[in-house]
């Protein structure tokens, strides 16, 4: 059984059919790339997976259980976490708080326990502090722990978004253009980091990206979307050579 199984997914906004017949399968530990020209509907797929929109047709199953219709936070708690195309950090909170917030559903102490400062409060806060710092270390962000998220340089902000998504302890990580705006050095570094977190945290990753060197360098499989439909899928080298894919990006003959 695949980890994440998307079948016949489709959504229409009024008369506009944004997605049709989308199939995606993700197994444990895979890094899959979702590519296609601008406006193809890639972020829409992410939005459907995380209940920003409700699909008009199709199924989405995580570990065999349907998640269609579940609320966003429930989906996150079930194991799908995402980052956003336009960075959505908690700007005026500290870097480490951004991460701690994502760990909220793993903590259990109640509001009363917080007010009375019961032992559970101290224990869990300590644990979360350590786990958050450890996660920041993986992304080389620990020195920024107390900094306001808005004050981070752009590349670090993108990494923080990923760290925050990772902090929810997901099974599948959806990354929306994680390398956007990064220079070649940062991009290479990000590739290594993503491979590292896949190995270390045993998760699967579905990513949207336009940077082809990034995509070819890290994805084990590709799914190509154009005008809301899948035009090719499979081995990256084969997909790249597929004339339909080339036509989609270049505009055809």
């Amino acid at each position: 059984m695949a980890l994440l199984e998307v079948k016949n997914l489709g959504i229409a906004f009024g008369g506009l059919r944004a997605l049709k017949d989308v199939q995606i399968t993700i197994d444990n530990g895979e890094i899959v790339g979702l590519i296609g020209p601008n406006g193809a509907g890639k972020t829409t797929v992410f939005n459907l997976l995380t209940d920003v929109y409700l699909p008009t047709e199709g199924t989405i199953e995580l570990e065999g259980n349907s998640i269609v219709g579940k609320k966003t936070y429930e989906i996150t708690q079930h194991g799908i976490a995402r980052t956003f195309q336009n960075i959505r950090l908690f700007k005026y909170l500290s870097v480490i708080d951004n991460v701690k917030i994502a760990m909220n559903s793993q903590m259990k102490y109640s509001g009363f326990a917080a007010v009375l400062r019961l032992p559970s409060y101290w224990k869990e806060e300590q644990r979360v502090e350590e786990k958050a710092r450890e996660l920041l270390r993986v992304f080389d962000l620990e020195q920024y722990a107390e900094t306001r998220a808005a004050n981070l340089p752009y590349g670090q902000q993108r990494k923080l978004e990923i760290a925050r998504a990772l902090a929810t302890d997901p099974k599948v990580l959806l990354l929306d253009e994680p390398a956007a705006g990064m220079n070649p050095t940062e991009t290479l570094e990000l590739m290594e980091t993503i491979k590292l977190i896949r190995d270390r945290f045993k998760i699967s990753i579905l990513l949207i990206e336009h940077d082809m060197s990034f995509v070819m360098g890290i994805c084990e499989r590709l799914v190509v979307l154009d005008y809301g439909m899948i035009i090719a899928a499979g081995d990256p080298e084969e997909v790249r050579a597929d004339p339909k894919v080339i036509a989609a990006y270049l505009g055809g003959e």
Binding site: T43, N47, V52, F84
Partner: protein, 293 residues
């Protein structure tokens, strides 16, 4: 009171609500702000009429025009002094809301200080007499009110759909940034919208005074709130919606007063708002815009 009379009364009040609702809708359409202070512009208009008609003893038509001009001016002033700075700086919604509340309270208390909180009477200026209709008698005042409202509505639709300024207003409502890039002066378009909305409130005030000849500094808040509910009901941002919403509000209120109790008519107003916001927040004729992620 028979049913037809209730309905006619409702249309009378509803027309006034519709005029004021238009102001809310237009402003919301263009700057996405609920101008809390809009209801109090009615009050300003009413006192302007009072000053010109009673204190200066000028003819009615002068006072109406003066009131419209004064309200337009006040509307633009409020926009320039209070809102534009926040709008341009991309301030948070809550800051705009609080500012609007501040302006509303400021107007109420300013006029209370100027004119005292006791009610001022304005002698009825609508012609006496009535016309028979469907078994009920319809006062000339009511006819004038409804007719005036319909006329204004038609003129406004013409303005928005057939003039260049109207086109500018529609453009800025859709996408202010793009409008600016197309060479539209967004600042003056917004100011103009506020001016028109406020002038409409002044007309509403005049019609109100025709039927209910007492004015206080606080008359604007309940009126404004009801008109706001009307705007939401019809679909905020929609001109025909404001008309429909206003008329429905007026009739609903009138029927409640007639058949249930006049005590709870205020609560019914809010009840309608709650129901609309829960089940069809875009109103009867509004458009739905979801936030893009």
């Amino acid at each position: 009171m028979n049913f037809i009379t209730q309905i006619i009364n409702g249309l009378n009040a509803g027309s006034i609500y519709a005029l004021v609702a238009l102001g809310y809708s237009m402003v919301y359409g263009i700057v996405k702000l609920i101008n809390f202070a809009h209801g109090d512009i009615i009050m300003v208009g009413a006192y302007a009429v009072y000053v010109v008609l009673i204190m200066l003893k000028l003819p009615l038509w002068v006072s109406v025009l003066a009131s419209m001009a004064f309200c337009a001016l006040v509307g633009v002033l409020i926009e320039k002094l209070a809102y534009s700075r926040l709008l341009n700086a991309g301030a948070q919604r809550i800051s705009l809301l609080i500012t609007a509340i501040g302006v509303s309270i400021f107007l109420q208390n300013l006029f209370q200080l100027l004119f005292s909180s006791s009610a001022k009477s304005v002698p009825g200026f609508f012609p006496e007499g009535s016309v028979g209709f469907g078994g009920a008698s319809v006062g000339f005042g009511t006819i004038i009110t409804i007719a005036a409202t319909v006329l204004v509505m038609i003129l406004l639709q013409l303005l928005i759909n057939k003039t260049k300024t109207g086109k500018a207003m529609r453009a800025v409502s859709e996408d202010a940034g793009a409008a600016r890039l197309m060479g539209i002066n967004t600042e003056s378009t917004i100011a103009f919208t506020f001016a028109i909305g406020s002038a409409l409130a002044a007309v509403g005030a005049v019609l109100y005074m025709g039927s209910y000849p007492q004015i206080t500094p606080y008359m604007g808040s309940m009126l404004g709130l009801k008109a706001f509910v009307a705007a939401v009901l019809g679909g905020i941002g929609s001109v025909p919606g404001a008309m429909i919403g206003g008329l429905i509000m007026g009739v609903a209120e009138s029927l409640t007063k007639g058949y249930i109790s006049s005590n709870i008519s205020d609560a019914v107003v809010f009840g309608i708002l709650i129901v609309v916001l829960l089940f069809k927040p875009t109103g009867l004729m509004g458009k739905n815009v979801k936030e893009k992620v």
